[in-house]
């Protein structure tokens, strides 16, 4: 129960988050790079954007330091479900594609 500080946080965390932001941006570009199309493309781009926005709000605007534990309890499962969502959407796109190609249209 360190009682000294209010909003002082180790620089390290900021650096971490910076790193994360870079990684996320890299992911967004990767989406472009691999020329992913359709639903997958947009959902991925949107999700990376939202994550970035979330991080920025959370860390740089000091939102996070409030009620952290509660936020974690809500945030973590949401992120997990978000992952599931992304993968499921692209999965159904993939399945649909195989159905189209092999059962309806032909190569």
């Amino acid at each position: 129960m360190a009682s000294k500080e209010g909003q002082q946080h180790p620089i390290g965390i900021y650096l971490w988050i910076w790193g994360l932001l870079f990684v996320l941006s890299a992911f967004s570009y990767a989406v472009d790079w691999y020329q992913l199309q359709g639903m997958l493309r947009w959902s991925l781009i949107l999700i990376f954007m939202m994550l970035k926005a979330g991080f920025i709000c959370a860390i740089f605007m000091h939102m996070v330091w409030e009620r952290l534990a509660l936020i974690y309890a809500i945030l973590l499962p949401c992120i997990a479900i978000l992952f599931l969502m992304v993968f499921m959407i692209s999965e159904s796109g993939y399945t649909l594609w195989t159905r189209m190609v092999y059962f309806m249209v032909g190569m």
Partner: protein, 276 residues
Amino acid sequence: MFVAIMLTLVTVGSILFHFFSPWWWTEVASNWGNIDDTIILTFWVTGSVFVAICLFSAYCVWKFRYQKNRRADYEPENPKLEWWLTILTALGVAALLAPGLVVWNQYVTVPKDAYEIEVMAQQWYFSYRLPGEDNKLGTSDIMNITDDNPFGINPNDPNGQDDVLIDGDDIHLLIDRPTKVLLRSIDVLHNFYVPQFRAKMDMVPGSVTYYWFTPTRTGYFEILCAEYCGTGHYAMRGWVSVDEQEDYQAWLQEQETFEEMMARNNDNKEIEIVAK
């Protein structure tokens, strides 16, 4: 003392078993020898960590066994050591992962010139379809399946007419020809697995899956269904024969195409009607 010895014995026994037991994988018969190489690499990296950890504990158990007058150290943590171990482990993991991903990339990227064949599964056997002269497989649909058309090939698709059908017999493959297998199931999940080829993939109803390989050795290999598919799962086997060019052609000549099969079915029907 006893415990330390037993721990050591278990470790040494495991190593000896690994090197001297007669049980090891079959000789590879496809281009996926590099999968074997990644496994060997994994063995060396992880095996040495396993041995190190076990022997270290055995040593500790012996060296620091209980003595009334000794005190254990009081050492809550040692961040430096922990960081080093973390980094080393991360390096170890990377060493395993990187080559693994490279090979996986090869596995899912099919060469352009690969010859496509289709394997169709149902409870509890495999059937096969080859593309025929136009080198194209026709589309198929489960709704088309009838007694006459067990593959459910789309009768209106021109690509499908010359497809070669192999129902209830062995499949033959040409040696050294990159082959892409398209996998399809009409009832439940199955899997197309030949231990010597190292490759496998599930067959999913309502979807088509694939993998590719190049057979590199002639021979007669057993196909196993490696995804649980009901009571007959264990009996769902097939055979694949990898042939040289001549044998392969000879075999191929004998097979029936979709067109021929439909014609034969019609003939049979007419005969039946006449007989009536």
